[in-house]
């Protein structure tokens, strides 16, 4: 259950986990039970693409189309980040 996400997995934020822009600190934050994750701009963009319908592969495609970065690098970062959040029980697949 704690394996890394695959490209065909469709991640979603479960109830009780919310992406929010924190105006006081001018930063995105992922709010979850008893914890808050500070997000940099890239992490916030990845999570904004997590909508319960896009697959991990779709999310990587969207980012690859927008940024000049190598697709393999994007894939590695996105899979690692989403897998870590799944392990922490703040992301469902």
């Amino acid at each position: 259950m704690s394996d890394a996400l695959s490209l065909s997995d469709v991640p979603r934020l479960p109830r009780g986990v919310r992406l929010r822009f924190d105006e006081v600190r001018s930063a995105h934050v992922l709010l979850a039970p008893e914890r808050a994750f500070d997000l940099d701009a890239v992490a916030a963009e990845v999570l904004s693409l997590v909508d319960g319908s896009r697959s991990v592969g779709d999310i990587i495609d969207a980012l690859a189309a927008k940024y000049a970065e190598d697709r393999a690098v994007i894939e590695g970062d996105v899979v690692a980040m989403l897998s870590d959040l799944a392990k922490k029980r703040v992301l469902d697949r």
């Binding site: 259950m1 109830r15 008893e34």
Partner: protein
């Protein structure tokens, strides 16, 4: 000293509770219903909290669902963008209000359990038929799709059950479990001799949690709060005094932590007279131990001083008589060895003394409690 914005607000909506747990974190002097803030004041406070930078609101008590307006208060959290966490016993009127709370936008539920075993749980919590109510409540939480955390306060009376409590959390569909060794303030301090576990049992409970974390990775997150008296370093109490958290009592006093009123000489401002922002920034009570300037040695020159912030002020007061002393949970405190020996002696006593159950305003209970504190005081 500049105050960073707080991230969390503990809203103690009421001190009323059907349970009578002998380790309750509420103060010995409980606020009465007639002194409680009204709905409009709580809503104003929550709006002020959101504007100040608070992200999480913990709706607590006592039992927060004992307030008739808990749904309106929760709805207000959602309206102003606050993440709402209901900290509940799951008994009394909790289940009857749960659907409306979910509808109002409640984000998360933290349910207390006293034991994996009904009879033992009801002995600890002092309420018959509590366990069946808690189980029914937990089932409804997950049926509504709300994330569930179980919180189990661990002590001598249930430390052998950690494995069963973990199994129960899995069975109930919880995503998180807090295995929280008792922190000895308030009622727990008065009952310390009845609650203190033996070091060997503590060590075993920690090993059980560590093994379960591995086995249940991705299924259940287990947070562990270790007991201070057997620790090498103190915890950063409330994340550091006046750094991350504020606590509003049922009658509106604003505290840096829930036990802060035990410290004499600190004046706590009230939301009845001032805004939350003014209190956070300017209240003398928040300024008293904020940052590191107040620290004595060995904290002052310690490289951990911005990790644990000197530990807990209330514990320093209770165990050394000086709220500005290094928390004796720290191995660098001159009192540390004495604290460990005290814990070992209490835990080693053949039979634990009876609990002094939490109660509102009972003169008899108060007398016994003070006697309990006196008996527990250090030589």
């Amino acid at each position: 000293m500049n105050a960073p914005a707080p991230i969390g607000l503990l809203a103690e909506l009421t001190h009323r509770c059907p349970l009578r747990c002998p380790y309750c974190s509420n103060p010995l002097e409980l606020d009465r219903r007639s002194a409680e803030l009204d709905t409009e004041t709580w809503q104003r406070v929550l709006s002020e909290a959101a504007a100040l930078g608070v992200l999480h609101v913990h709706l607590s008590g006592g039992e927060p669902t004992a307030r008739a307006d808990v749904v309106a208060i929760t709805a207000h959290c959602a309206r102003v963008g606050l993440y709402s966490n209901l900290i509940t016993s799951g008994v009394g009127g909790a289940l009857a209000k749960l659907d409306a709370l979910a509808e109002a936008g409640l984000d998360h539920v933290q349910l207390s359990i006293q034991s994996a075993d009904a009879a033992n749980g009801e002995r600890i919590g002092g309420l018959v038929n509590a366990q069946a109510q808690k189980m029914a409540f937990a089932e409804r939480v997950t049926a509504l799709g709300l994330p569930l955390t179980l919180n189990a306060v661990i002590h001598r009376g249930n430390i052998d059950e950690v494995e069963r409590i973990i199994d129960l959390a899995v069975r109930l569909g919880a995503k998180r479990l807090e295995v929280a060794h008792t922190q000895y303030y308030g009622w727990a301090y008065a009952n310390r001799a009845a609650l203190m576990p033996a070091k060997a049992d503590v060590d075993r409970s920690i090993r059980t949690v560590e093994a379960a974390r591995k086995a249940l990775e991705g299924q259940l997150v287990i947070d562990l709060v270790v007991p201070d008296y057997y620790a090498a370093y103190p915890k950063a109490c409330a994340g550091g005094w006046g750094r991350r958290l504020m606590n509003v009592t049922p009658s509106g006093r604003v505290l840096p932590c829930h036990a802060a009123e035990t410290i004499p000489g600190l004046a706590f401002w009230s939301v009845r007279e001032r805004s939350l922002a003014e209190i956070w920034v300017s209240s003398p009570a928040f300024a008293a131990f904020r940052g590191t300037d107040w620290m004595p040695e060995p904290c002052r020159s310690c490289d951990r001083k911005e990790r644990d912030w000197g530990g807990c002020r209330c514990q320093a007061l209770a165990l050394t008589g000086d709220a500005a002393a290094t928390d004796p949970a720290c191995s660098l405190s001159p009192h540390h060895a004495r604290i460990g020996a005290l814990a070992a002696a209490e835990a080693g006593a053949g039979e634990a003394p009876p609990y002094v159950y939490r109660t509102i305003g009972g003169a008899d209970a108060k007398e016994r409690t003070e006697a309990g504190v006196a008996a527990a005081a250090l030589p």
